[in-house]
Point group: C2
Chain length 253, copies 2
Amino acid sequence: MVDVVPTLQALRPRDVSGRVAVVIDVLRATSTLVTALAAGAREVRPAATPREARVRYDRLAAARGGTEGLLLGGERMGLRIEGFDLGNSPLEYTPERVSGKTIFFTTTNGTRTLRRAAGTRTGGGGARRVLVAAFLNATAVAKEVLSAEGDVVLCCAGTRGGFSLEDILLAGFIAAHLERNAPFVFRDLARAAAALYRSMAGEDGRDLARAVAAADHARHLTALGFGDDIVLCATLDTTDIVPEYRRGRVVVP
Amino acid sequence: MVDVVPTLQALRPRDVSGRVAVVIDVLRATSTLVTALAAGAREVRPAATPREARVRYDRLAAARGGTEGLLLGGERMGLRIEGFDLGNSPLEYTPERVSGKTIFFTTTNGTRTLRRAAGTRTGGGGARRVLVAAFLNATAVAKEVLSAEGDVVLCCAGTRGGFSLEDILLAGFIAAHLERNAPFVFRDLARAAAALYRSMAGEDGRDLARAVAAADHARHLTALGFGDDIVLCATLDTTDIVPEYRRGRVVVP
């Protein structure tokens, strides 16, 4: 069974329970997570709030006797948080900045979607596995889902409680890959997302960059000066890593 | 501005406030409402629960000294409610049964979507107007929206809290009509719904019946024995009435 949940707010425990969850926040949290780990970051520890990120960073720095190897990253309202090392632009997460580092990371929707998909820490109700998807690793994620077997739910973060076109397009790319490669039962939104991807991006993805650039949140980010991020986040298959969220950390297994 | 809300649960007061709202529950509440009013029903009074429908029916019957001209209609779990005159199949709402009648009507999602779109009874926060759309009157609704001017939000009821393909397809039909006939700013889901309609139903709607029949809720209703309803509810433009929800009643103005 393949299902799609359109927003963080619509994600209910029963949507993910026992399934493989794929978390999608194209602009920009999951694109940044994939970029950071592809650039050699050791791990990313998502935090719900800037304060939580800071407290956990300080606690680990104290335990280690220094901030060597630690970074703070994330955004609020699209912008870098005061005092943080990095914002939420994947372009900042270069090998020079992040290789070997542990990054405490917080964004408005992406982090909460990871946590909600994973369920409670005591193990009740969460997904069997939580994979992190961007266009940058889209085919690798689709292949991993196929090899994991079982039901899959593509969990879109959305934007400010609403549907995000770029997230549904990525869900559609993955759904279309699954449709071609194995017999799945498709729920309505999974079937719709696959049709939408083919219609707006083209079977070969030729119009993907244009479709993403026309999305509401892309236009907002472009107005904030992040136009280059949009181009990067709409690029298919630059890496084959599949980051996974496990026990509060995003790592490449 | 044209926006689409995918489910009753996602509908927030700020989505509709001061706008023209179009309520969509293709399978089957709004298809039944349009059919009943096209068949000459005097008015439909939506109720949240079977009990509320019954109490209001009894109260009006007592005031009038009889049940002449009154009917009870609606469903729970897809089936007629015990003791009600009519279920939620549009095929039951013939001129012979409903012409001139006042119908107290309750369904799981459709009624709540009408009420939520209309806002509180004291006038705070609701839509400027609430129109009732089905494929049966889709072009008439789109024309009414154009002549009403201003922002429009297409409010899909959805099914059990989830996205319904047939509702998004009707939202897409109306959005595509608006796109062709006037300059609107389209929000993400409005643009996506229009693309999805063209992709799944075809520019001319030729594949509409097949697309609706493949939807999750259509397959559920077919299994319950309502296959003929699906065919009827996927038929375009059989009437040009545009029912409107005003002060607790659905009427043809």
